[in-house]
């Protein structure tokens, strides 16, 4: 395969000659579309389209879900709902563990404060004892 001798040479770009025209066209189209999507009629149209797609696919989804549930049951495998319910319970357990973690943190903090207070109280006594011995 022949090597490229000079990559700084003018590169073939299919859009080069039309670039300015392209940019102007896109700019104009962009402004037009931004105005178009910001209208009530656009909102109504997309809402209707979404509604139609979801309504049309609903019977197929229901049928698939029912047949999948039956198949999983026959195979003694958990369904998605069962796994989701288990996951919810795990989350509750995690929350309780987090609460315990918070309590332990508070206890440790209280113990550290108590120890500091005790050390502060014991310091003058230690100083007096050291003075007596000295």
């Amino acid at each position: 395969m022949p090597e490229v001798k000079n990559e700084n040479a003018k590169v073939f770009d299919p859009f080069e000659s039309l670039r300015g025209l392209r940019d102007s066209y896109l700019d104009a189209m962009s402004k037009t579309m931004v105005e178009a999507v910001n209208t009530e009629s656009y909102a109504q149209a997309t809402g209707a389209m979404l509604d139609y797609c979801l309504s049309a696919s609903a019977p197929f989804r229901d049928a698939l879900e029912k047949s999948m549930a039956q198949a999983l049951q026959q195979l003694s495998l958990p369904s998605r709902q069962e796994v989701a319910a288990l996951a919810e319970r795990f989350t509750n357990v995690e929350m309780r563990l987090d609460d315990l973690d918070a309590k332990v943190d508070r206890l440790l903090s209280a113990m550290a404060t108590l120890k500091q207070d005790q050390d502060a109280k014991a310091e003058p006594k230690r100083a007096r004892q050291a003075k007596k011995r000295g």
Binding site: P14, L26, T91
Partner: protein, 355 residues
């Protein structure tokens, strides 16, 4: 007329460009590279602490918690070396934590904004306080993260929040003429319950399509033309690649939280009206006392400026400021000019209030 040799060379260079173009579109850029440590988890949520780069005596005592939206990856705040807000802030002595909400599964479809703001967020804050040894903290909420942090700040004003930063915060939905999403989610047109019945959670792909549909030509055509035109510029290609990696990493939004967002916020505008109830408590924005900086992107089409202005009149904060930046919803923090505009302003504002 060009010689066959010249045409062959040009054809080869064109092939090379096409290969690069395809590679950028089909691969993931290395992102979120700032060293961090996982310090807490709950369900899918993770709290990271970024490794400090300055010695303790040169660091601010008050930690900073970054809270992003629940339907996008938070590493937009740490996109790539040299263009990372996290890297910028830890380099200036801040103790930075990042809350990653994770990707909700079908078992999380019942999670509401209440759970995010008043179960997960307080627990993460508790852990951050325990690690940092500071009872006071700063918190930055961006996009939906700003909603969650605002709710927290209003319901827990005495929990040690000193500084609250809200970026492109969608708090006020009253100006329907300027909020395109408010039109699209009108109850006459948008039956979100059918989506949630079908999928449980709001699919990330649909959220992404909705955001891109605000500027369809820019997002679906011009964006790729920009990449093609700049294939010879490695800096531009690298930046584009990183941003595209983040944009295409969509995650779903928990169904119940999405329902609240549409009904309570987009349709009823309950938050800014002090009518939102979270965990059976009324969210009264006047209870917010923290120092407040709200950053508004003047070119934001996802959260127009009008959505972030009213909060200043609602809070009881004495020290409050609005900072307007040219740019878009994401660009003001992750764009090429962010390190010259938004980041220094946030850093200066926060450093003056973090002693």
């Amino acid at each position: 007329m060009q010689s066959p040799q010249s045409l062959t060379e040009q054809s080869l260079v064109f092939q090379k460009r096409l290969r690069l173009f395809t590679r950028v579109l089909s691969t993931k850029a290395p992102i979120a590279r700032t060293p961090k440590e996982l310090v807490w988890t709950l369900n899918k949520t993770k709290l990271y602490r970024y490794t400090p780069v300055l010695p303790p005596q040169r660091r601010f005592r008050i930690p900073l918690l970054l809270v992003f939206a629940i339907m996008n990856r938070p590493y937009i705040l740490d996109l790539r070396p040299g263009n990372s807000f996290v890297e910028f802030m830890i380099g200036r002595g801040f103790d930075v934590y990042l809350l990653d909400w994770g990707k909700p599964g079908i078992e999380d479809k019942g999670m509401k904004l209440d759970d995010y703001a008043m179960e997960y967020l307080p627990r993460a804050i508790r852990k951050m306080k325990a690690i940092s040894g500071s009872d006071v903290f700063s918190m930055l909420g961006w996009c939906i993260g700003a909603i969650l942090t605002t709710i927290y700040a209003a319901l827990r004003p005495d929990d040690g929040l000193r500084n609250l930063l809200l970026l492109t915060a969608p708090l006020d939905f009253s100006n329907r003429d300027h909020v395109t999403f408010a039109k699209w989610t009108d109850e006459r047109y948008f039956d979100f319950e059918k989506i949630l019945d079908a999928f449980g959670n709001m699919p990330g792909e649909m959220i992404d399509s909705g955001a891109k549909a605000l500027k369809p030509i820019d997002n679906y055509i011009t964006n790729y033309c920009k990449l093609w035109d700049n294939l010879d510029n490695p800096r531009v290609v690298e930046a584009w690649h990183a941003m595209n990696t983040w944009v295409t990493d969509n995650i779903p939004m928990a169904g119940a939280a999405y329902r609240q967002l549409i009904v309570e916020l987009y349709r009823k505008n309950a938050l800014i009206r002090n009518q939102l109830r979270v965990k059976d408590q009324l969210v009264d924005l006047s209870r917010i006392q923290a120092n407040l900086l709200t950053v508004i992107a003047e070119g934001d089409h996802i959260t127009p400026p009008c959505q972030s202005e009213a909060i200043l009149q609602k809070v009881s904060s004495i020290d409050k400021e609005v900072y307007r930046v040219p740019g878009g919803h994401i660009g003001i923090m992750a764009g090429s000019a962010a390190h010259r505009t938004t980041w220094p302003h946030i850093e200066q504002w926060l450093s003056a209030r973090s002693h």
